[in-house]
Symmetry: C2
Subunit: 149 residues, 2 copies
DNA sequence: CTCCATTGGACAACATGTTGTCAATTTGAC
DNA sequence: GTCAAATTGACAACATGTTGTCCAATGGAG
């Protein structure tokens, strides 16, 4: 198995582990990894956005993100607001409940995050991140991407 | 966003890119990323295994892998053989057609793989892989895992 | 202004994988 | 040998995300 296949395998495994860990850590808050990711993207962007923009930021399809947004709206974690620039594309904003959920989620992972930074080191984490991004970019250059991702 | 969150985000993005790229590269062969992964796991193990063992090797659940195996069996890429040690747990083996498909898939990614190794370097790829494995291990130590993964 | 290409949302079908549950089988402790 | 625990497969429900398609709304070229 060459080094690319090896890293690919490791990425698949890490992806599964991260999703599974996220689900466990935020279950008490009534979240899942998918919901948390979208909430965090909203918190991070610090402004209201239409669903399609959120999807672009996250590298997912509009449709997938819309499904999660509808779930979050059912739980009153987010709300849709009228968009003065576009009648159909409603703006998505965090509600106070949503902001509390994001804060609680960050608190829930804090200890584990610190442990990882301490044992592996910020530098190696950033190097791994840079390598993965370069690999993703090389793949993107070599293959056509669809509408969104 | 701390370094762990940053790397997590990068892993999610890389995972999506790899799956999408795999799907494109092996579409002509009649495969998908999921089917290819299972076929490759079989080729790599170099022996016939029950479905549950394959799942363990891949870090997935039996049920998910079984679904893929049934699809592969429909396409005659694999076959189930009697297991002398266990009446229910049939052994899964690659058929000649399955072996051809794996070989064709490897050929399809070969050029891209070489390009990635050339531009990023084997050393950095291995370092990223090692870092991801360490992070996965730290997460595993801190959280209960279910039956299989 | 008109036309059309782009963007955005909604709906449906599907792919991938997990979780829950049950029965069959094997295995190990006694 | 017997019985409990662990393993395996099968089936169902669900979570997550993609793809395909259609329509609405916007915006830019002419």
């Amino acid at each position: 198995m060459d080094d690319v296949q090896q890293l690919t395998h490791t990425v698949f495994a890490a992806n599964g582990r991260l999703i599974s860990a996220g689900n466990q850590l935020v279950a008490d808050i009534g979240l899942t990894s998918a919901l948390w990711q979208v909430l965090a993207a909203l918190e991070y962007s610090n402004e209201t956005l239409p669903a399609a923009s959120i999807a672009r930021n996250m590298g997912l399809t509009r449709q997938g993100v819309q499904r999660v947004l509808d779930l979050l709206a059912e739980q009153s974690m987010i709300e849709f607001k009228e968009n003065p620039h576009h009648r159909r594309a409603k703006l998505v904003g965090l509600t106070p409940k949503g902001k509390k959920a994001v804060a609680a989620a960050e608190k829930a992972v804090d200890s584990l995050n610190k442990q990882i930074i301490k044992k592996i080191g910020a530098r190696r984490l950033r190097e791994a991140s840079a390598t993965l991004k370069e690999m993703s970019a090389l793949i993107s250059e070599n293959l056509q991407r669809k509408e969104n991702p």
